[in-house]
C-alpha cells in the first residue's frame, strides 16, 4: 500500500482535483484505491456526489471508536472508494492534540487498510498544523502542487525547510506545477527557471484549464466525462511519473 498525500500550505492550488483525478487513474489501472477527504470543506466528497458526513465526527474517528473501513463509501467507479469529509474535521487539530502521540495517529488508523488498498490518497486541508504533521508521518509520498508564482515558490521553500527541520526522512516530497497558464509570461519564466534550480520538481505540468474547472459542475473525475484533452493527458503523465516512485 502506498499512501500519497496531496498537500500544500496554500489553498486553491489544485490539491483536490489532483487527488481525485490521480485516484481515478489508479483505480482505472486496476489498483484498489481509496481517497480520504480530510478537508472539512469536503470538495473531493462533493466531486464523487458523496455526502460529507462521518458518523460520530472527528472525535469518534480519531479515537478509533469506529472502524475506518465501516465509514468508507464506494464511488461510482470500480476499484475506487472514498472516506468522506465531515464538517467536524475543522477541529481535527484539537482532537489530535488530546491524544498521546498525535502525529502517529493517522498512520495507526490507516494500517488496517493496507490489505485492502494498493493506493490511498489523502486530500489534505491547506495549512501547517498538527494534522499536517500526522499526514507527513503517515504518507509515503507528499505530492505538492505549486502554481508558478513567486508566492507559491516561497511556500515550497517553507515546506522543504519544515521537512528538513523535523527530520521527516520517510517521506518523499514531490512538487509539480499546477494550474500553469502558458499564456502568462510569468508562469512560463518561473517554470523554466525553476526546472533548473529544483530538479526534484516533476516533469508533468497540470495546465490551468476550463475542463478541470468543469469538474465542479460534472461532479465526477475528469477522465469520466472527457476522453482526450490536454488536461487528461497531463494527469496521465503525472500518474505515470508517480508510478516510478
Amino acid at each position: 500500500m502506498t499512501i500519497i498525500a496531496t498537500y500544500n500550505i496554500k489553498g486553491g492550488v489544485g490539491k483536490t482535483s489532483t487527488a481525485v483525478n490521480l485516484a481515478f487513474l489508479a483505480a482505472q489501472s486496476n489498483y484498489k484505491t481509496l481517497i480520504w477527504d480530510l478537508d472539512p470543506q469536503g470538495a473531493s466528497s462533493y466531486y464523487f456526489r458523496i455526502k460529507p458526513k462521518v458518523k460520530g465526527g472527528s472525535k469518534a474517528l480519531i479515537a478509533g471508536d469506529r472502524d475506518l473501513d465501516g465509514l468508507i463509501k464506494a464511488t461510482d467507479f470500480e476499484n475506487l472508494d472514498l472516506l468522506p469529509a465531515d464538517f467536524s474535521f475543522r477541529n481535527l487539530d484539537l482532537v489530535l492534540d488530546e491524544r498521546k502521540k498525535p502525529t502517529q495517529r493517522l498512520k495507526k488508523l490507516l494500517a488496517p487498510l493496507s490489505e485492502e488498498y494498493d493506493y490511498i490518497f489523502l486530500d489534505c486541508p491547506p495549512n501547517i498544523s498538527l494534522l499536517s504533521e500526522a499526514i507527513f508521518e503517515a504518507s509515503d509520498l507528499l505530492l505538492s502542487p505549486i502554481i508558478p508564482t513567486t508566492l507559491s515558490l516561497r511556500t515550497l521553500e517553507q515546506l522543504k525547510k519544515h521537512i528538513k527541520d523535523n527530520k521527516l526522512k520517510n517521506i518523499q516530497l514531490l512538487p509539480f506545477f499546477s494550474m500553469a497558464d502558458r499564456r502568462k509570461k510569468m508562469h512560463r519564466e518561473i517554470i523554466e527557471s525553476l526546472a533548473e534550480q529544483h530538479p526534484d520538481i516533476l516533469q508533468s505540468i497540470i495546465p490551468y484549464a476550463s475542463d478541470i474547472e468543469r469538474m465542479g459542475l460534472e461532479r465526477q473525475p475528469l477522465g469520466s466525462y472527457i476522453n482526450k484533452s490536454r488536461s487528461v493527458e497531463a494527469y496521465q503523465s503525472l500518474w505515470q511519473e508517480l508510478l516510478a516512485f
Partner: protein
C-alpha cells in the same frame, strides 16, 4: 430478510421490459448497458471445482470476454480475468491468482466446458437524489430459464441495498433465490446434475439381493465407468480418463475372479480374457502418464546444477506417450473392442433365470460378500505375515495384488455394512496399500528410467542428461528401500488387535 439477499428469480410472467418499467416508477434508475452474452461453465470431468465450492464461468459478449472464479455458496468473486480462450490446464494460466486457486483443486485434470447459456445482460444503476449510484442490479434475461436478478451492493450503502431487496419482495413478489448460480437449472436442461460423475464406487445393494443379480449390478456400474471415460481416453483429454478407465477394467477383472461362480464359467472365462487384454493394452500409456506426472518431482529431487539437464527426458517421455497413446486409441476404436464390449453389455442387460445357475448365484449377496472378504482378508494376513526382511520383491508384489482384490471387494459391497465401520476398515487397508504401491512404483520407475537412458543414449543425448538420470535412479532406489523398510511397520499397524477385531466383527461372524 437477511443482509445478503442478493439473488432473485423473476417469474416467467414478468418480462424484463415490464420489470424495468415497473421498477423505474419506484426508484431513480439508469440502464448502463445491455448486451447479448454467452456464459459457459467450466469444471473438471469429476467436478473438482464444484466439490471445492468453486464455479468457473466464462462470459463472452461483443464488448468483452471474462473468465470468473466464484464461490459457489456465497457468490463472492474469487478472481477474474479478461480472456477469449480458456486454458485447458491450470498450469497454463498466465494469471497467477487463477493458477493458485485452480492448481490445488484441478491438479492434472483438464478444465472442460460443462454447458452454455445465452442471455441478454442488463446492468442497471439505482441512483439517489444527488444522482450517485447507491446500488447496482444485474438482470439476466435467459432464453431457456427463468430470468435472474442479482443485487450488487456498494460499500457504505447497505441501507439502500436492504431497502431495494425489501421492495423487490413486497412490491414485485420476488423470492430470494437460495443459489447464486443458474448452473443447476442449466444442467437440468441437459438431463444432468452436479457431481454426476465420481471415480469412487457407490453401488446400492440390498443384503437379501440374489448374488448373481447383485454382481450383474456391479458389472453394469463398472461398464458405465468404462463407457463414460472412453472418449476422454481416446482423445487424451487428460491422464485421468485413462486412469479411471483402467480402474474400472481392473475392478471388473477383480469381480470376475473374486465374486466367484455367480456367472456361468464360460462367460467368466470369455470376459476375463477380454478385460485382461484391455488391462494390457492400456498399461504402456498409463505408465508413461505416471512418469510425465512425476516429472516435476524428478526435476525437484535433482541438485540444482542438474535440474535443466533432465529436460530431454521430458521430451522423450512425451514422444513415447504420444506414440503409445496413438496405438491405444486405434485399439479402442477397433471393431474387436467395440464388439466385445457391446456383447458384454448385452449379456448384462439380459434378465436372469428364476433360479441361479450355481449355488453361489443363489446365495444372498450379504452371505457371499462376508465370505469373500473374510477369505481374501485371511490371505492378506497370511501373505503379509510370511514376508521377512530377506523376502524377494515378488512376495510384496503378490501381496499388493491381494490387497487390491480385498479393497475392491470391500468397495463393491460397502453398502451392505455400517457406513462408518466399512469406511474405517477401508482406510486402514488404504494406509497399508500405500506403502506397497510406493515400493512397486519406485521399483518400476527405477527400471524404466534405466531403460530409457539406454534408448536415449542411442539418440546421442548430452552426457549431463544421462548424469541427471543416474542421480534420479539413485533417488528412486533410496525411496524404494525406504518403502521396503517401512513395510513391517505398516503391516504391524494393519494387523494390530483393534484392526483385527474390526475386520472380524464386520465380516467373520457372518461368514
Amino acid at each position: 430478510m437477511t443482509e445478503n439477499t442478493n439473488y432473485f428469480e423473476i417469474p416467467a410472467n414478468l418480462t424484463i421490459k415490464k420489470f424495468i418499467s415497473k421498477l423505474s416508477k419506484q426508484v431513480d434508475l439508469q440502464i448502463i448497458s445491455q448486451q447479448y452474452t454467452i456464459k459457459t461453465f467450466y469444471d473438471s470431468f469429476d467436478w473438482r471445482l464444484y466439490s471445492a465450492n468453486m464455479l468457473c464461468e466464462h462470459k463472452h459478449s461483443q464488448k468483452n470476454s471474462e473468465l470468473r472464479l466464484v464461490n459457489n455458496k456465497t457468490g463472492q468473486l474469487l478472481s477474474s480475468m479478461e480472456t477469449e480462450q480458456v486454458p485447458d490446464f491450470s498450469q497454463l494460466f498466465t494469471d497467477e491468482s487463477f493458477r493458485q486457486l485452480l492448481s490445488p483443486e484441478l491438479q492434472m485434470r483438464a478444465l472442460l466446458p460443462l454447458c452454455h447459456l445465452s442471455y441478454e445482460a442488463y446492468l442497471i444503476n439505482i441512483l439517489n437524489k444527488d444522482q450517485k449510484t447507491i446500488l447496482r442490479l444485474q438482470v439476466d434475461e435467459y432464453e431457456l430459464l427463468n430470468n435472474r436478478l442479482q443485487l450488487l451492493p456498494l460499500k457504505g450503502y447497505e441501507k439502500a441495498h436492504q431497502k431495494i431487496a425489501q421492495l423487490l419482495q413486497d412490491k414485485f413478489n420476488l423470492l430470494p433465490s437460495a443459489s447464486c448460480t443458474v448452473l443447476n437449472e442449466a444442467l437440468k436442461h441437459q438431463g444432468r446434475k452436479p457431481q454426476d460423475y465420481s471415480s469412487k464406487l457407490s453401488i446400492k445393494l440390498k443384503p437379501e439381493m440374489r448374488a448373481d443379480k447383485a454382481s450383474q449390478l456391479i458389472y453394469k456400474h463398472l461398464l458405465h465407468a468404462i463407457h463414460i471415460n472412453e472418449a476422454g481416453t481416446i482423445d487424451d483429454t487428460d491422464s485421468e480418463f485413462l486412469h479411471d478407465f483402467r480402474v474400472a477394467v481392473r475392478r471388473t477383472r477383480a469381480g470376475l475372479s473374486q465374486i466367484k461362480n455367480t456367472l456361468p464359467a464360460e462367460i467368466v472365462a470369455k470376459y476375463a480374457s477380454f478385460f485382461a487384454w484391455l488391462g494390457q493394452i492400456t498399461g504402456p500409456t498409463r505408465d508413461l502418464d505416471v512418469y510425465l506426472l512425476s516429472y516435476p518431482n524428478y526435476k525437484e529431487v535433482l541438485p540444482e546444477s542438474l535440474q535443466d539437464d533432465i529436460a530431454p527426458l521430458y521430451d522423450f517421455l512425451m514422444q513415447k506417450q504420444q506414440q503409445a497413446h496413438n496405438e491405444l486409441a486405434e485399439k479402442l476404436k477397433s471393431p474387436e473392442y467395440t464388439k466385445q464390449l457391446l456383447e458384454w453389455e448385452t449379456y448384462l442387460k439380459q434378465s436372469l433365470p428364476k433360479k441361479g445357475s450355481t449355488t453361489e448365484a443363489n446365495q444372498t449377496i450379504q452371505e457371499l460378500a462376508d465370505l469373500r472378504i473374510w477369505k481374501v482378508y485371511q490371505r492378506v494376513l497370511k501373505e503379509g505375515g510370511a514376508i521377512e526382511a530377506g523376502s524377494p520383491p515378488e512376495a510384496l508384489h503378490d501381496l499388493r495384488k491381494t490387497c487390491k482384490k480385498l479393497r475392491y471387494l470391500m468397495e463393491f459391497f460397502q453398502d451392505l455394512y455400517p457406513a462408518q465401520d466399512i469406511k474405517r476398515a477401508i482406510k486402514s487397508l488404504k494406509g497399508f496399500q500405500a506403502i506397497l504401491g510406493d515400493f512397486q512404483d519406485y521399483e518400476i520407475q527405477e527400471l524404466s528410467i534405466k531403460q530409457f537412458s539406454e534408448e536415449m543414449m542411442a539418440n546421442l543425448v548430452a552426457s549431463n542428461t544421462l548424469l541427471a538420470m543416474g542421480v534420479l535412479v539413485q533417488y528412486l532406489d533410496v525411496m524404494k528401500c525406504k518403502a521396503r523398510n517401512h513395510f513391517s511397520e505398516q503391516f504391524t499397524l494393519f494387523v494390530e488387535a483393534e484392526n483385527k477385531a474390526m475386520f472380524t466383527q464386520l465380516f467373520k461372524h457372518k461368514a
